[in-house]
Symmetry: C2
Subunit: 400 residues, 2 copies
């Protein structure tokens, strides 16, 4: 039996053995949700010209304003720059247009009355010099750093990429991941159930956790509890994937063929068993071509806890995601800690009226019980050996 | 000019005019992230049989235990139920197996030594009656309600669906959405820029906000500032979509053809202009075949604020998503409120060491400034007329 290592040691060892999965260039329309892998600088000043901010007229400001302005032309959004020749005249302008040469003030249409070819301001209206002009370069100047590598590309990021001419963008390549379930007792979701059999669910649950984090290059395999079959399947998936995730077959039993099959194929065990509950039997290693291999326990809650605590953060971090700090929540109830093992306890989290994230523990009835998990949002991490911890204690939280 | 309505009135009017977009049955492998539209009951007891929780041997418990047990057979996971005939014998068992008939105790392999055809317990080991047995029905019983409609299908939900035989599942149909940008000044991301032109970015930014919430049935169109072209495009997109989102063309200008074109096509205006900043010019209406139509302002920050404040929550709620309560955060700095308008201020949100979500406002330099948005996570909503609000005030928060 191997030594138990701590959660922090397991996390560090996984990170240490993670490859970079590289980057790829994708069309902007496919970049949503991806991890940015390049710096983005401003293509030009923003706005690129003194920009009209309201529909109305552009004029040359004077201390004492004329009562009306002769309409001398139009400057619509998208048009090349027009010029206002006379100080007593005006140009019609629309939002987004270049401010015409010779103008330094925009009067919105709400404050104007049109009379034939002239615009008259409503009585008592006093515009300010420079009003409703979004000055060239006031948001950013050409060359300014707008985005750093490591961000997830959401709506604000994609707006900047589009506005600055990035038709393609470098993003983290998504590693190809095989999820291999093991166990003679497991049948497909649509198969008849024999005596002693249950339906396969860990593989798709772990796959969903990955997919909802953008890790969607997934293939699924199943092997029975047979040494030769286990070895043949592992050979095949190791040849074709960056990451192999195994569900089950990593406990201490004589028929847990996964660790021995992996080692026979040239995979190197980095650790086996973590001082935690659930999830103690987790196995982690590196394949002959630097593939990373996660052996998750077969218990549904354990498999999911190990997937969200180790697999997902490590992959996203290796892909270059920055700021992947765990969430902090506040315990809504006092809890006991285990003397030797780090506990992961399912919890319902809600934000109270002050903005405080309160975690209500929903302990599983047994370590195999996943029927209560949908009432929860993830697990709180309770380090070992703290004795009883009071309500109000801040703890790390990992979302499903 | 139409009356300004409040944010709460706008939200209620949008909700009131939203259709149900129906449901559809999808294979389980495509259900991740979708909104569940059916109740899910347990197919059978969980566990479906008294289930062995450890690899080892199963025995019949006795007050005074024999020193060793004759091996009488095996009960592997997936096998039909075996029977232990003699009280002094044992069956080898693996995790997940049915507890053999005649047994009421499992001894893990760690506490055993094998000697030929016998298993001997390590010295001083005292098992408890019933240990390491996960009793039939202890997690849930057949017919028990496991999932209610309205949940987003994440890892725990998909595990239960798979375990209970749902090869297909009823989920909310995703409405088909057209995003139509307007404006002569706008060019494609990969086009050369003429004088007075800028690149189109609002459409893809709004599309990204939708897509990252699972609203991914999107088509994009662009129309120039031309009344006939606007009308032709709107006719076409209204015929083919449940939802039409317009970016720009809804201000007060003479060349804002969108509201008049929509009304000419039989669309009914529900409201135009909300007492908020930014986003005041927003238009909302209903098409001739009950399509919902959102006219977002052309300003990048305004368009995105209206998309995340009105469009996304309304669509998700109409699709049946439950618990779509806004987030609450705590202001990290004192802020002023506007006398008449609800302010939406971009903010960086981080969770402090106690689990409290602190919002640091990052005001835009101008209302057209989106270059600073990537440093923020969304907008805080500051109701009008509160005067200065102190740091520590709890406010609603809407994520990008």
């Amino acid at each position: 039996m191997t030594e138990l290592i701590s959660v922090a040691q397991a996390e560090a060892l996984v990170a240490e053995h993670m490859p970079s999965f590289g980057s790829e260039s994708v069309p902007l329309a496919q970049a949503a949700g991806r991890i940015l892998r390049q710096a983005v600088h401003a293509e030009r000043d923003q706005p690129p010209f003194d920009r009209v901010m309201m529909d109305g007229i552009a004029i040359r400001w004077q201390e004492v304003l004329p009562l009306d302005f002769a309409l001398a032309g139009v400057q619509l959004a998208g048009m090349a720059m027009q010029t206002l020749a006379s100080g007593g005249a005006c140009l019609e302008v629309t939002t987004g247009a270049i401010l015409p040469a010779g103008c330094d003030c925009v009067i919105p249409i709400e404050h104007l009355q049109r009379e034939g070819d002239r615009y008259r301001t409503v009585e008592g209206y006093q515009p300010a010099r420079g009003q409703f002009i979004h000055s060239r370069g006031s948001d950013c100047v050409a060359g300014e750093l707008l985005l750093e590598p490591g961000a997830i590309i959401g709506a604000p990021e994609i707006a900047l990429l589009a506005a600055n001419g990035f038709a393609h963008v470098d993003v983290a390549r998504i590693p190809s991941i095989a999820i291999v379930s093991t166990g003679d007792e497991l049948v497909d979701v649509d198969s008849p159930l024999g005596e002693g059999q249950i339906r396969r669910s860990n593989d798709i649950a772990v796959g969903t956790a990955l997919q909802l984090r953008g890790l969607a290059r997934l293939t699924f395999e199943h092997v029975t509890d047979d040494e030769a079959a286990t070895r043949a399947t592992l050979t095949r998936v190791l040849a074709a994937h960056d990451v192999v995730i195994l569900s089950g077959g990593v406990s201490m039993g004589q028929r847990d063929y996964v660790p021995t099959a992996l080692e026979a194929l040239g995979a190197r065990r980095v650790f086996h068993r973590i001082a935690q509950k659930p999830g103690k039997p987790m196995w982690f290693g590196v394949g002959p071509d630097a593939q990373v291999i996660f052996g998750l326990p077969g218990n549904p809650v354990s498999a999911l806890v190990c997937a969200i605590r180790y697999v997902c953060p490590a992959l996203l971090s290796a892909m270059g995601l920055s700021h992947a700090r765990p969430e902090t929540v506040c315990l809504a109830a006092a809890m006991d800690t285990h003397a030797m093992l780090c506990s992961f306890v399912p919890a319902h989290v809600h934000t109270d009226l002050q903005g405080l994230a309160m975690a209500h523990p929903v302990p599983s009835r047994t370590s195999g019980d996943f029927s209560s998990l949908p009432r929860t949002h993830g697990v709180v991490q309770l380090p070992p050996g703290l004795g009883p911890v009071p309500a109000g204690t801040a703890v790390e939280f990992y979302r499903w």
